[in-house]
């Protein structure tokens, strides 16, 4: 067992964890942060994307012990009193259907807009390449990210 201290969505947690425990399972099973889902076991789908110290990571590809001392933001901590511009844009543009990929897609898009506040359509598509959606064909996701970028997303 290893001791870790992690801040998740603004709350500090100290826990004993197995060294092999994945961050996503720590979030879901230990902290009850079930807003972040798991969609695969090879880090291809991106459903579990969260921010670690402000940068997007696939939380199935990070061990909980690697998050020791880190600040994690999940989809459940993204809204700050009111919805984040990406959450609003995803709603407006109907950029989600079943919603399973949505938390990861939004967290990845937020990181994309942090590094490139005004991406072209191609840059949006390339930037979200690591996040799979089976419902939308991405058309409305691209529109939503563009809408959020036009609204001006501050990281």
């Amino acid at each position: 067992m290893a001791s870790i201290t992690v801040t998740v969505d603004g709350v500090k947690y100290s826990d004993e964890v197995e060294p092999r425990l994945l961050l996503v399972h720590y979030l879901r099973d230990r902290l009850g942060k079930t807003g972040t889902p798991v969609g695969c076991d090879t880090s291809n789908c991106g459903a579990c994307t969260v921010h670690m110290n402000g940068v997007s990571v696939k939380s199935c590809a990070v061990l909980a012990v690697q998050a020791d001392g880190a600040e994690i933001t999940t989809i459940q901590g993204l809204a700050n009193g009111e919805w984040h511009p990406l959450q609003r844009a995803f709603n407006t543009e109907h950029a989600l259907q079943c919603g399973y990929c949505t938390p990861g897609m939004i967290m990845a898009a937020a990181d994309l807009l942090r590094t490139n506040p005004h991406p072209s359509e191609e840059e949006i598509r390339d930037g979200l390449e690591g996040n799979l959606c089976r419902c939308t064909g991405y058309e409305n996701i691209v529109r939503a990210v563009r809408r959020a970028s036009e609204a001006g997303v501050t990281p």
Binding site: L21, G35, P37, G39, T42
Partner: protein
């Protein structure tokens, strides 16, 4: 309140953003894997590494000693208790229906088949312990090729042989149609095996309290699942509650009664503790039922002027190792659709179902209809080439004219309405068809290494599954009705209970819009409940683009009953005759006096208190309606795809994609457009990217999303979509369904475009998925054989 406020803006047709999104966008979802119960245990399965083997022993004792392990069982430990997974569609009287125990006991018939289960305190411990289960196998020869499986002397998947059934269907004089036909074109197409890949892996939680069980499952069909557990596994139906909480996509893959669901119920009962199972993606790719997997031999006879005379289709359909819920019926859903939108004199169809040692196939988005549409739309292009005719012109010559509806097709379906001319004209306009043809010609003449191809798909489909009597005549196991209840609460708010079980389709929004219009109640005052058999007792669930066309009509019917009940109360309160009460613009009023009157919401409180109530009338406006459709519905459309094919590398790029769909009346255009987008993406995925690949030993090679190429945003183009609107005449809302249209239409549009780009090189097919390697090989083969007159990349 003025009389007009509620009727001012009709909800039907309004692009409402979705109610569902609030929880989905903020992580407040309730996926099955989120569910935690006191004492919850985790199941993990030991699965066969062999495609075909005899099980000589299963020893779970060492696993039981592993840390955290509570129990471990082999299939034999359940004996007869585990029963056999049901097939609900025995398509012929003499179909071979082998037993299908949830866990194999004596023989395994595909890689991934469950042979033992370990139950532990957490998911990591359960996963660790399966390695300690000792299973001995005696390998048997795998059966992997459908055609070889039917040959004399092939190893057998089941004792009864590899032929599951033969289902023939003939209409008209097929011999006459082909006899002396000036043109006959024959092709064989391969529908590769696909993996549905809903983003949410399957998950199950089962919990018993005394003799009552609650099963949470990531399923499309909570009601059918409850029925099956009651009918086939000896649990009294009244003691079963099935809950489909938030479900992360289905596409047919969760239209199933699975081994894991049944075993969760049995294990939880055995242990007296709740259990959970959540699959990994690689486990899911192995063991979620697959889709497609057919060989299609198709022949068409025509006159020189292009008029179709007859169509002959001969299918081999891979059932996989067992028959699951509707495995044998999937090709039949396509059987009626090969003639598509075209008139002809005769049609012959035959399907042979074949067992192999692979994961069973079953419904995957479109189920039978994408396969049919692909083959007919592909061969229409081949016929056009044979005739030297523009492929759109050939289609127009043969399609049912808009003034000919209703039209009984050669496959005996009655198409109620459609306007292929309008959809095609609009698609051509948006696509700039003539300009692209001109550019194509230029590139051909210039020998451009990047050739341009134009692909056409003028598709139709049948959805709104299904009129119960019709599917009953095809030996389908259940009915095709749907149920809805409208509860009028005391404060005038509305609860809608629907038997359609949503998993991304937006029912909560669309159903609210229907009720708002029908009852004149604000959209915000309506809540839609679904996916829990204790809340929604009756339902046939969600598949086959049936929710709106069947469930939506049931809902409209329930609303009509509410209005009828409210009229009686209104008449009493307004001291008028019930016959004089009309309901217009959201108000119940005396005929000729729409300014005075009561809203349904006002009647609600009067009904709740029942202080001043008519004699002999029950004080409730709540109403239930069950609707059985009189016919299928037939959405249609024209999809046009332009591809650029690099003849040096084989790389295909979709340059533009235009889809004009006619799904009848539209409740919510935002949702409809989203369904079309997603459908097109899945159809393109079949055309370009996806294939479940087994090796020569029967191992699935595409178990992960690194090997099975679900496309990302970077792999797909922008879609231009539009609609024409030809209302259905067989239901009061005029709706036709949209869930599968995009998938059905897009695959042939893309492949037709690729072949069109390469046709001058003498290429008339590229097998799917049309990967750069396959396209490149097709080009090399054509060049080596000296085929082709001109064209690119010389």
């Amino acid at each position: 309140m003025t009389t007009d406020t509620q009727a001012a803006a009709p909800e039907l047709g309004k692009a409402r953003t979705r109610k569902e999104d609030a929880r989905l966008l903020t992580g407040q979802t309730n996926w099955t894997d989120n569910i935690v119960l006191p004492g919850l245990l985790h199941m993990c399965f030991v699965r066969s590494p062999f495609a075909h083997a005899r099980i000589t022993s299963v020893d779970v004792s060492a696993a039981k000693d592993m840390p955290g392990v509570i129990a471990a069982f082999s299939g034999a430990d359940f004996g007869d208790e585990q029963g056999s997974l049901p097939c609900g569609w025995p398509v012929t009287e003499d179909i071979v229906m082998p037993p299908h125990p949830p866990m194999a006991t004596d023989e395994v018939r595909y890689v991934g088949e469950a042979v033992a289960v370990v139950i532990a305190r957490d998911r990591y411990e359960a996963a660790d312990a399966i390695a300690a289960v000792d299973v001995n196998y005696e390998p048997l020869p795998p059966v992997l090729d459908m055609r070889a499986a039917l040959e004399e002397g092939s190893p057998k998947v089941h004792e009864a042989g590899n032929k599951c059934y033969v289902w023939p269907f003939v209409q008209g004089d097929i011999d006459a149609a082909f006899h002396d036909a000036p043109v006959v074109v024959e092709r064989t197409y391969r529908q590769q095996r696909l993996i549905p890949c809903a983003m949410e892996p399957r998950a199950v939680v089962a919990s018993w309290v005394a003799d009552e069980v609650t099963l949470w499952s990531s399923t499309q069909i909570p009601h059918v699942l409850r029925f099956a557990l009651g009918a086939f596994f000896g649990i009294p139906e009244q003691n079963i509650r099935v809950i489909a909480p938030d479900v992360g996509g289905g596409f047919g893959s969760k239209l199933q009664i699975t081994a894991e669901e049944v075993l969760a119920v049995l294990v939880a009962r055995k242990l007296g503790r709740p259990v959970k199972w959540t699959e990994s993606r690689s486990e899911g790719n192995l063991t979620v039922h697959h889709g497609r997997d057919q060989w299609q031999r198709i022949r068409v006879a025509a006159d020189r002027d292009g008029r179709l005379r007859g169509l002959e289709v001969d299918l081999l359909a891979d059932m996989g190792a067992y028959l699951m819920l509707i495995t044998p019926g999937v090709p039949l859903l396509g059987a009626f659709m090969y003639p598509a939108i075209y008139k002809m004199d005769a049609y012959s169809f035959k399907c042979t179902g074949v067992f192999t040692t692979k994961m069973p196939t079953d419904a995957y988005r479109g189920a039978g209809r994408p396969e049919a549409t692909f083959a007919i739309e592909r061969i229409m292009d081949e016929l056009a080439d044979e005739l030297g005719m523009d492929p759109l012109e050939l289609r127009e010559r043969n399609w049912i004219k808009h003034e000919e509806f209703p039209y009984t097709t050669i496959a005996t379906l009655v198409y109620d309405s459609g306007n292929y001319e309008a959809a095609t004209a609009r698609a051509k306009e948006l696509f700039h068809y003539d300009e692209l043809r001109a550019e194509q010609q230029k590139r051909r003449e210039a020998g451009d290494p990047v050739q341009l191809g134009i692909g056409i798909s003028t598709f139709t489909e049948m959805c709104g599954i299904a009129p119960s009597r019709v599917v009953g005549s095809l030996r389908y196991g259940v009915g095709g009705w749907e149920n809805a209840t409208v509860r009028v609460l005391a404060t005038g708010k509305i609860e809608v209970v629907t038997g359609s079980s949503a998993h991304g389709q937006g029912h909560e929004t669309a159903w609210s819009q229907i009720v708002a219009d029908k009852l004149g109640v604000p959209y915000e005052d309506i809540r839609v409940l679904h996916g829990d058999t204790q809340v929604s007792a009756k339902g046939m669930d969600t598949y086959g683009s049936r929710s709106l066309t069947v469930g939506g009509i049931a809902l409209a019917g329930a609303c009509d009953k509410v209005i009828d009940k409210a009229k009686r109360v209104a008449a009493h309160l307004m001291e008028a005759s019930e016959n004089d009460i009309e309901f217009t613009a959201g108000r119940l009023h005396v005929r000729g006096d729409p300014q005075q009157g009561r809203t349904i919401q006002e009647i609600a409180l009067a009904t709740f208190t029942a202080h001043n109530f008519p004699d002999g009338v029950e004080p409730s406006l709540d109403s239930e309606h069950t609707y059985d459709p009189e016919n299928f519905s037939f959405p249609h459309g024209t999809h046009l795809c332009a591809t650029e094919v690099d003849t040096e590398t084989g790389r295909v790029t979709i340059r533009s994609y235009v889809a004009v769909d006619d799904v009848g009346k539209v409740v919510n255009p935002l949702i409809v457009e989203g369904q079309v987008h997603g459908g097109i993406a899945q159809g393109i995925a079949q055309a370009l990217y996806e294939e479940a690949v087994y090796d020569d030993d029967g191992n699935l090679l595409t178990t992960t999303l690194a090997d099975y190429l679900v496309p990302s945003a970077a792999d797909l183009p922008h879609f231009t979509t539009d609609r024409t609107e030809t209302p259905a005449t067989t239901n009061p809302l005029g709706v036709k369904g949209v869930g599968e249209a995009g998938t059905i239409a897009s695959t042939p549009a893309v492949v037709n475009a690729i072949v069109d780009a390469l046709r001058p090189m003498g290429i008339d097919d590229v097998p799917m998925p049309c990967t750069p390697e396959r396209v490149w090989r097709a080009i090399q083969t054509a060049r080596d054989s000296g085929a082709g007159q001109n064209g690119g990349g010389q």
